[in-house]
């Protein structure tokens, strides 16, 4: 009897424990486990949406250019935002060089997300009407991967030289066990061009009606090709791609209120590619807080380049508070609330200026063509503008670079234009103390530091000179 009692107890006990054992299989409810991540094409589309959003990584280039070049100065309300970068005291560490190392992580994050989606595109189920979208999404992702690689190449390498060993790592698969080394610049460029060409081959033609500046398509892809070709010094291709974009007529140059409206997101004139910020002051907030505190202001040097009376860019780009402080008006006002503006990554005027520069710099310069494009941009911006002609390449290039300074101010170009052309940063005395007024041409700080986080975690990584 006694033993029966014990046996029963044991039996009950074991039953309880066995049923508990099942309870140990607890699956997450709050996130998607990897095996469920990509089941249908809808999930691929969600991933692609994320990738397009993650190209907000470009904002880091825009900010780094503002801080390190001569287009901005520390604003009246600056309490240290970007100050160390501005004073050329930045290092590879996130605390002191966060604004110039951020692009590295942001671009590779995007590249990894793309590499996680790409192998699944052909594996998922799709509804019949979605079938053609497989290739379109594949092309968009390939293109974004290329553009991202270009972003890191431009930030963290010396001027383009195919044999330069310190390029950046090429990442085409997602594998967390990798500790990648730097490829040569030539290898990186080859991968960028391959991805862009593969993408272009998969994309259908676009028209004014089907064009959208928030996803990759054939035309804005060509615009990036033009930008990259100019960077590479491949002027003939730069002209070809820029002509492809301009010639499509999809985004003509505009002027007057149509131009001003670009910057308040009232219209999407001229924009070839845009990252949207529906309710996030990510762009405007870098320069001026929502409350109106000015962190980063346009430099006196930049301000002085505009003829305030005739150049519509002055009022579109630069604002002045009642107290007399200047602020970046370009990213200040929007219908969605102050500072909540979209990131304009690529505009048609850049294509004109690329073509102008390529025509001026190519093996047999075409100064007439260069002047024509430059004049087209100026005519759209300056009331009563009289066309200019050039007799020397030098004059033309100087004028074009100066026009890029004015036209593309604070859009992420100035630092890279100076670097590309081996020019120094020379700030006005009123913009900076003598200690950080000049960054001599070819100074190591033109090549931004590889972030400390990469250096610690990756024994195969080589830091740039000087850091």
């Amino acid at each position: 009897m006694k033993y029966l009692k014990y046996s029963l107890l044991l039996l009950v006990g074991s039953l309880v424990l066995i049923s508990c054992k099942k309870e140990l299989d607890q699956q997450p409810t709050d996130f998607i486990a990897e095996e469920n991540a990509f089941l249908t094409f809808d999930h691929i589309q969600l991933g692609a949406n994320g990738a397009h959003g993650a190209y907000g990584a470009y904002l880091n280039d825009l900010y780094a250019s503002a801080l390190v070049s001569d287009e901005a100065r520390l604003g009246a309300g600056n309490a240290g935002q970007g100050a160390l970068e501005y004073r050329y005291q930045f290092s590879s560490d996130a605390t002191t060089g966060g604004s110039v190392t951020a692009a590295w992580g942001a671009y590779y994050y995007l590249i990894d997300q793309i590499n996680r989606i790409l192998p699944n595109i052909d594996l998922v189920t799709a509804r019949p009407e979605q079938e053609p979208r497989r290739n379109i999404v594949r092309a968009q992702l390939l293109a974004l991967r290329a553009i991202s690689h270009f972003g890191v190449l431009q930030d963290y390498c010396k001027n383009y030289n195919a044999t330069e060993p310190l390029g950046v790592p090429i990442m085409t698969v997602s594998d967390i066990t990798l500790k990648p080394a730097r490829n040569t610049m030539g290898e990186v460029m080859a991968q960028i061009e391959k991805d862009l060409n593969d993408a272009k081959a998969l994309l259908p033609a676009v028209t004014v009606a089907t064009f959208t500046d928030t996803t990759i398509n054939r035309i804005n892809l060509a615009a990036f090709q033009a930008r990259i070709a100019l960077y590479k010094g491949d002027y003939d291709n730069a002209i070809t791609y820029a002509t492809e974009v301009i010639g499509s007529g999809i985004k003509p140059l505009v002027s007057g209120a149509n131009f001003a409206g670009i910057w308040t997101d009232a219209n999407v004139n001229e924009t070839l590619y845009r990252v949207r910020y529906q309710n996030d002051a990510a762009v405007g907030g870098l320069f001026t807080t929502i409350g109106g505190v000015i962190y980063i202001a346009p430099s006196d040097k930049l301000t002085a380049t505009y003829d305030q009376a005739t150049d519509i860019r002055y009022s579109a780009y630069i604002g002045t508070t009642s107290g007399g402080d200047r602020y970046v008006n370009k990213y200040y006002t929007s219908s969605r609330g102050g500072r909540i503006v979209d990131l304009k990554v690529c505009r048609i005027s850049e294509m004109y200026l690329i073509r102008a520069e390529a025509n001026a710099k190519k093996a047999s310069p075409n100064l007439t063509a260069a002047a024509a494009d430059l004049n087209a941009v100026r005519a759209a911006r300056i009331t009563g503008y009289v066309n200019e002609t050039f007799t020397t390449v030098n004059d033309a290039v100087t004028a074009i670079l100066n026009e890029r300074f004015k036209e593309l101010a604070l859009e992420g170009f100035r630092l890279f234009d100076l670097k590309r052309n081996n020019l120094p940063v020379s700030r006005n005395a009123s913009d900076a103390s003598p200690d950080w007024q000049t960054l001599p041409a070819g100074n190591f700080r033109f090549v931004l530091p590889i972030p400390q986080a990469e250096m610690i975690a990756n024994p195969n990584m080589v830091q740039n000179d000087g850091y």
């Binding site: 508990c20 959003g53 560490d93 996130a94 590295w104 994050y109 975690a457």
Partner: protein, 1017 residues
């Protein structure tokens, strides 16, 4: 006296359960014949018992089968007397201190200390009750050896950081396991538990004890035992306590207006340039020395002079506005009693505390009911506590944000006014008006939570035979916290907001719910063979499930005429853009265990204990889920040996050795760390899906192996007593972070891998000395403390990495600060100097020059000491607590001694100690305003402290007086001071408060003066 006895006997008869019971009476005295009150008289082996009255008498109904009475009292050796045929028993107890720790409650089992191989310390009710803190774990500082206890915040009711025997995990936590009456309770949320209901807190530190909790106890276990009903007539008692709380003193002082204007002028005169025209930099902008001044015409110059003069007249001491006197009160009514087989303890507590800054308080109502039943076969203990807590909060503390009052008070400009002429706060945009803006926000907004917590548990035991018993313990710990955050449209920061939702005001409601349930069946076999072989064996099964769910909702457009209600939330639409935001989370984890425990004692001299268990955790993949843990222990009671008989100086000497393993289920780095995960997000209205954690499918248990060698002793006529423990804890399969290079997935991509090994070894002491001990006067000195050496033994091939302000590298303790070494200021140029890795001074700040030469925040030395003095009815006790060898980063110093980033903007106040370089030859510690200040070792300071933690003076009315007050049996008055002083090199508000590694201007611990009254009717 006889009359009284008769009365007692009569009372006893009234409550008598006549059949099968009889009533025993008696009197308990000390060795000198003085009656002893509150002595526990219990039928051995049951929970039937009572306590003696003030005259030392007792009466107790006992079951017919009762054989022995156990008579015990704090400070006296327990006695067991056989129950014979008589009914009156007079007992004389011998004074002793060893019984203070006689029974170690491990939560699962109650073990006699002499048979307990582990290291544990007991904190008894006397030290727990009537402390003016809202979270009981705050009591532990300085009272338990081996415990690093930091009271993280002066916010009423905030839990402490408790680390037992050093951090044993890197990526997981080091939070101990908390058990209340055998039921695991949620760590860190103790506001709804009333410490006045506690009978004792046991802190279990070693492997043998932790092995009982195998999978969960590796970080130590804190076991709370609540009070049970005492036998006999229901006794009603009341205790009440009131007091005030005030801001602590600290070394640091912000500048006055005069000082700040002077510093601003000095700054401008050196920097010049754009600062000449920075109108915010008042002291320079309006200065006659500013070149700008010469360019003004006479009228403008006069205006500037007037402006400067009027600003100079304002000198706001922001401390007066950000701090307020706090107060404290606590009331409790207790009923305790029992008849026959049943005893009841019931208490109702009301706690009220107002913090030392506006909008911080805590109110608590607790209702506890503990019921015990026991007969000769069956016993049942039911414990239940229901608590309701309401707490009010500031917008934020412990952040470097201007909404934090404890940052604002130090950086707000002294020449700004607090109020507008119309009486409203003089808030303004941006930083210059941050002081008044903070106060305005505090005035308009609300942030509070309501918490309901129910902890219910029972243990039922049935004796199958004389030697075999079965038991079932089960219970739940349930907590629901509802948080409300109301942002008023009328607050200045909202009125000027440029975003639609910002202007609209918000109402944010969130609910979080946490439920732990457990069930633990057990069988115990216990037998003494041949009178000398004492054997005990238990088999235990356990299943614990944790469920958590949180839900939150934020709505906008709250009309200030209907403030602070979810009813005022507007329905969002495309036109008003006031879309409601909602979110939440949930998870469930489970653990199943099987456990066998055995103990064998030979002749009272030698004891061997052993345990083995197998645990499965839902937090690991099926392949790695199950793990075995084991522990063994041995005890040698030396004083029981015959050769000790002649050594009179040694009364007790026990040597204990144990070794065992334990796991860390509650502190896994995440609940699903083996799975890669994707999450959905939003890109401007489009849904996105991104990978956000790569997952480590190989994750397995992190296991701590502890060796413990301990000695318990009582020597010199039991005047010197205590225990000393030596231990070595090694964490194997330590989770360390593998930082993936950003190039494989972006910043912050990491997985936790079982690679490292971590060591903690040290010594703990608990020493007491009764300097004087006689009938009227007892004077005791005591000290407890520990030294712990924490060292990361191995990273298992992973790369060293930065974690917060620290760096993880083999050979270093956890929490080692990682910074560039500060080299001072170049006296010739005013440039900041830093050391590079070769030890050379350089003007270039490079993070890659960071080193780990600055110690760790985790103090190796810590403890407490004090004294207690008892003279007749007076009782005086003092406790100091201390820690030594800790360093901490002072983030506040970065703000308040920073010419470029802060002073030069003209928007912030600075420390009165600020002395920056102005001319060649200046030997100062802050660089010239031409050069920025970086985060460097300059900010790392000694956070050691000695705290005057507690002083209490109480007086208990003598019996002769209470005897005259017919309805009152005991009256005690007391006054108490808490946190009265602190001795520290730390300059900030409180070296303990806030994050353990860095000072982010957290709410400092207040100083408290309280007084109280306890009456038993």
């Amino acid at each position: 006296m006889r009359k009284l006895l008769a009365l007692v006997a009569a009372f006893a008869f009234f409550s008598l359960n006549v059949w099968a019971q009889r009533t025993l009476t008696g009197k308990v005295t000390d060795e000198n014949g003085a009656p002893l009150s509150n002595v526990s008289v219990v039928v051995k082996g049951t929970s039937t018992g009572t306590v003696t009255k003030t005259d030392g008498t007792f009466s107790l109904s006992v079951p017919a089968g009762a054989r022995e009475l156990e008579i015990s009292s704090l400070g006296f050796a327990a006695q067991t007397i056989a129950i014979g045929s008589g009914s009156n028993y007079n007992v004389s107890l011998v004074s002793s201190t060893k019984d203070l720790n006689e029974v170690v409650v491990t939560g699962i089992t109650r073990v006699r200390r002499s048979q307990f191989a582990g290291a544990a310390s007991k904190i008894d009710a006397r030290q727990i009750v009537d402390r003016p803190v809202g979270s009981f774990d705050q009591i532990l500082q300085g009272r338990a050896p081996g415990v690093l206890s930091l009271t993280g915040s002066g916010q009423p009711g905030t839990a402490s950081t408790l680390i037992i025997r050093g951090s044993g995990s890197v990526q997981g936590g080091s939070q101990p396991l908390y058990i209340v009456d055998g039921i695991p309770v949620e760590a860190g949320v103790f506001q709804a538990l009333n410490p006045n209901d506690f009978a004792s807190i046991d802190v279990l530190r070693d492997a043998a004890t932790a092995a009982l909790y195998g999978s969960r106890g590796s970080a130590g276990v804190v076991v709370v035992t609540t009070k049970r009903g005492t036998g006999g007539k229901m006794k009603l008692s009341y205790s009440g306590q009131m007091g005030i709380k005030s801001k602590p003193d600290f070394a640091f002082r912000p500048m006055t207006t005069a000082e700040l204007l002077k510093a601003q002028e000095q700054y401008g005169s050196i920097v010049g340039g754009s600062s000449n025209n920075n109108s915010l930099l008042t002291g320079w902008y309006l200065s006659k020395n500013n070149p700008r001044y010469a360019t003004l015409n006479a009228t403008q110059q006069a205006a500037a002079d007037r402006a400067l003069d009027s600003i100079s007249q304002i000198n706001t001491n922001w401390e007066d506005y950000f701090f307020r006197p706090g107060n404290f009160s606590n009331h409790q009514i207790t009923l305790s009693g029992g008849t026959g087989k049943t005893r009841i303890f019931s208490s109702l507590g009301l706690y009220n505390e107002e913090g030392t800054t506006d909008r911080t308080d805590m109110k608590r109502v607790t209702f506890r009911n503990n019921v015990d039943y026991a007969d000769d076969k069956f016993s049942l203990s039911v414990s239940s506590n229901l608590g309701y807590v309401k707490r009010n909060f500031q917008q934020t503390t412990q952040t470097n944000g201007v909404a934090n009052p404890f940052l604002a008070t130090n950086i707000a400009l002294p020449y700004k006014k607090v109020f507008n002429p119309d009486g409203t706060y003089a808030a303004g945009a941006g930083f210059p008006d941050l002081g008044a803006t903070q106060l305005d926000l505090t005035y308009w907004d609300e942030n509070y939570n309501d918490q309901i917590k129910a902890t219910l548990g029972f243990t039922a035991t049935y004796n199958l035979t004389e030697n075999v018993s079965v038991a079932l313990t089960s219970g739940i710990d349930f907590r629901e916290t509802q948080n409300t955050n109301y942002g008023s449209q009328l607050a200045y920061t909202r009125r000027i907001s440029s975003s639609i939702t910002g202007r609209a005001g918000f109402q944010s409601e969130s609910i979080s719910r946490f439920l732990t349930s457990n069930i633990r069946p057990s069988v115990t076999f216990k037998k003494v063979f041949a009178e000398r072989h004492d054997f005990e064996f238990s088999a235990i099964g356990e299943y614990i499930q944790e469920n958590a769910k949180a839900f939150n909702l934020t709505g906008f457009g709250i009309d200030p005429r209907t403030p602070n209600t979810p009813a005022a939330i507007q329905v969002g639409n495309a036109a008003n853009q006031l879309f409601i935001q909602a979110g939440g989370s949930k998870f469930r984890t489970a653990i199943a265990s099987g456990l066998a425990l055995a103990r064998y004692t030979f002749d009272g001299k030698y004891t061997l204990t052993g345990s083995i268990r197998r645990d499965g955790s839902s937090k690991l993949s099926e392949d790695n889920r199950w793990q075995n843990f084991y522990a063994v222990g041995a005890i040698w009671d030396m004083t029981k040996e015959s050769f000790m008989d002649n050594i009179r100086a040694i009364n007790v000497m026990r040597i204990k050795l144990s070794y065992g393993s334990a796991g860390n289920h509650n502190n896994f780095p995440s609940n699903y760390l083996y799975q890669a995960r994707f999450a959905t997000g939003n890109y401007s209205g489009l849904t996105t899906q991104v990978a956000n954690y790569p997952g480590n499918p190989d994750a397995r248990w992190e296991t701590i192996y502890t060796t413990n060698l301990g000695i318990d002793f009582e020597i010199v006529n039991r005047r010197i007593y205590g225990d000393i423990n030596l231990y070595n804890r090694i964490t194997k399969d330590l989770f360390v972070s593998r930082r993936l290079p950003p190039s494989v997935g972006g910043f912050g991509w990491q997985i936790d891998v079982n690679a490292g090994e971590l060591g903690n070894k040290g010594v703990e002491w608990n020493l007491n000395f009764d300097v004087i001990r006689n009938r009227n006067l007892t004077w005791t000195l005591f000290t407890n403390g520990s030294y712990n050496k924490n060292e990361l033994l191995s990273l298992g091939g992973e790369e060293p990495y930065e974690s917060g302000t620290s760096f993880l590298k083999e050979g270093l303790p956890l929490g080692s600060h990682y910074e560039v070494k500060w080299g001072g200021v170049d006296a010739a140029t005013g440039q900041p100097l830093y050391y590079d890795l070769d030890g050379k001074l350089t003007t270039t700040y490079a993070a890659s020059n960071s080193v780990t030469d600055f110690g760790t925040w985790e103090a190796p030395w810590k403890g407490g000491f004090g004294t207690s003095l008892r003279y007749k009815g007076f009782d005086f006790s003092v406790l100091f607590s201390w820690q030594e060898g800790a360093t901490k980063v002072d983030n506040l110093e970065f703000f308040v001694e920073n010419p470029v980033g802060f002073l030069g903007t003209g928007q912030f106040n600075q420390s009165a100690d600020l002395k920056f370089w102005t001319k060649p030859g200046d030997v100062v510690n802050t660089p010239s305003p031409l050069y920025g200040v970086n985060f460097s070792s300059k900010l790392i300071h000694d956070a050691s402290f000695l705290r005057f933690r507690d002083v209490t003076l109480s007086y208990t009315l003598p019996e002769s007086t209470t005897a005259k007050l017919k309805f009152i049996s005991n009256v005690k008055f007391y006054v108490q001071g808490t946190n009265l002083f602190i001795w520290t090199k730390w300059r900030g508000m409180d070296p303990e408060a806030g994050a353990v590694n860095i000072n982010l201007s957290e709410f400092p611990n207040p100083r408290a003066f309280t007084g109280g009254l306890n009456i038993t009717f």
